[in-house]
């Protein structure tokens, strides 16, 4: 029957497609003896890991990671992932490290193992330079913007009574920090809550003199590298490497490149 022949042909087509497409795309499981580890990141997260104007992967985390890999004498591969899937990618073995401005929290500690913290961050409040807001309390009844599903949101809610005191009892949540900044500049929001690391990059891009950072913040946190709990040897090795880099000045070099206030 002709239909059977068509079926055969189509199954063949699907199989061939698969083969063509599957080549060179095998997800490697972490093998500590193996000479390669895969680092998962959202490659649009400036300034930790993102693309520069020629499309190259750059950022504080990228450079630090390359140095750590050198110390460990392994090859490191950068795998772009979707940030919301990071723990799943790690636990299914598609990546070996989560390293992208990954804040250390108690909930996350239950799912992954963290390296020693390598960067301090805080949730700061930014306003326009000419704003009359000086203290957190000044925000009462005002509009505050934030990036949805970020640690900024968590930090805001963890401060008792803060969110409730704002206009309409909530924050205005945008899908990206850029949009939150946009709202601030347009005058629709009076302030934004944001990662310090990210905010400083943004403000540097657009002219720091336009903004003001409140002295009070909504919480300090630290960035760490996420690993599978069972990769204990790798964790030990990485922590050792980080320690060495902080002692021999390489860390400072990278830090100054990305975070010095010029």
């Amino acid at each position: 029957m002709k239909i059977k022949r068509y079926t055969m042909f189509l199954i063949l087509l699907v199989l061939i497609t698969n083969l063509l497409v599957g080549c060179g795309d095998k997800s490697a499981n972490a093998d500590i003896q193996a000479k390669k580890i895969i680092m998962g990141l959202d490659d649009t997260f400036a300034p930790m890991g993102f693309r520069d104007e020629s499309g190259e992967l750059v950022g504080f985390d990228i450079e630090l990671a390359k140095e750590v890999a050198k110390k460990l004498d392994v090859e490191i591969e950068f795998q772009p992932i979707d940030w919301s899937m990071k723990e799943t990618e790690l636990n299914t073995g598609n990546i070996d490290l989560i390293w992208n401005g990954y804040s250390i929290t108690e909930e996350r500690k239950e799912k992954v193992a963290f390296s020693t913290p390598y960067l301090a961050n805080s949730q700061i409040v930014v306003t326009l330079a000419d704003s009359s807001i000086v203290k957190l309390a000044d925000l009462e009844g005002l509009a505050v913007a934030v990036q949805a599903e970020s640690s900024a949101v968590d930090a805001a809610y963890s401060k008792e009574g803060f969110v409730e005191s704002l206009k309409d009892g909530k924050m205005i949540e945008f899908s990206t920090n850029n949009e939150a900044f946009n709202d601030l500049e347009a005058g629709r929001s009076d302030a934004i809550v944001v990662d310090e690391v990210l905010a400083r990059y943004y403000m540097k891009q657009n002219g720091e003199e336009k903004y003001k950072v409140l002295e009070e913040n909504l919480g300090d946190e630290e960035f760490g590298i996420g690993l599978r709990k069972e990769d204990t040897q790798l964790l030990e090795d990485i922590n050792k490497a980080l320690d060495e880099l902080m002692k021999d000045g390489t860390y400072d070099e990278i830090y100054n490149k990305w975070f010095s206030d010029n």
Partner: protein, 216 residues
């Protein structure tokens, strides 16, 4: 503009993915869906029901979820052992999903053909398979073209879902440039890119519809 200097090469790379997923999905799922439609209409109750369940699942869950299950899910099912690569997972998910949608459209189209066509053919001694390919299918295609065209346009936009597996399409290119330069403009640019793709596609679909309008 510095932004465009970054955005354009990234967009071209992203287009390979966007168009690649689009073309490959269509190339496989369109013919496959005709087969599936026939199986759905089969007199074999078991086959018909089985295909019915497949279609129900594919249309009843978001493609995004299907992408996640197919790529990440193997880990949670014991004994499968074979991990799909990112691109394999994308193609399988898209093909499975779109085959289901197209199959339903074809099924409806095949069902709407007057039974007299089958009878005239039978009386003339023409086999069932020849009847289907020469008499029924051409008429079905003409009838379902608008619906198929709709799904094809949806497919272009669905390609942006590959982000969930970290794969870089044109929308991701916009996000990368946007975050690097802290500006919203790249999204506007990519919006236009989509519009251009859809404009070309629509023109193509119209031309095809016109070609099939040589009768009735």
């Amino acid at each position: 503009m510095k932004v465009l200097k970054m955005l354009i090469p990234l967009t071209i790379e992203g287009l390979k993915i966007t168009l690649g997923v689009f073309i490959l999905t269509l190339a496989v799922s369109l013919p496959l869906s005709i087969l599936v439609a026939l199986m759905r209409r089969s007199k074999n109750k078991f086959l018909s029901k089985f295909i019915g369940i497949y279609i129900y699942i594919m249309r009843g869950t978001p493609l995004l979820l299907q992408l996640m299950f197919i790529y990440f899910g193997y880990h949670y099912i014991p004994h499968i052992g074979y991990a799909l690569g990112r691109y394999q997972a994308i193609f399988i998910a898209f093909i499975l999903n779109y085959t289901a949608y197209f199959a339903e459209i074809f099924r409806g189209g095949i069902g709407s053909i007057d039974i007299g066509q089958y009878e005239a053919s039978k009386v003339l001694g023409i086999s069932r398979s020849y009847t289907f390919s020469k008499i029924i299918l051409p008429q079905v295609i003409k009838n379902v073209l608008p619906s198929i065209g709709n799904e094809v346009i949806t497919l272009v936009k669905d390609t942006s879902l590959v982000y969930i597996l970290g794969v870089s399409d044109i929308l991701k290119a916009a996000r990368a440039a946007s975050n690097t330069y802290s500006t919203f403009t790249p999204f506007v640019f990519i919006g236009f890119v989509y519009l251009i793709i859809i404009a070309i596609l629509t023109k193509l679909l119209d031309k095809i519809e016109l070609k099939f309008n040589y009768y009735r």
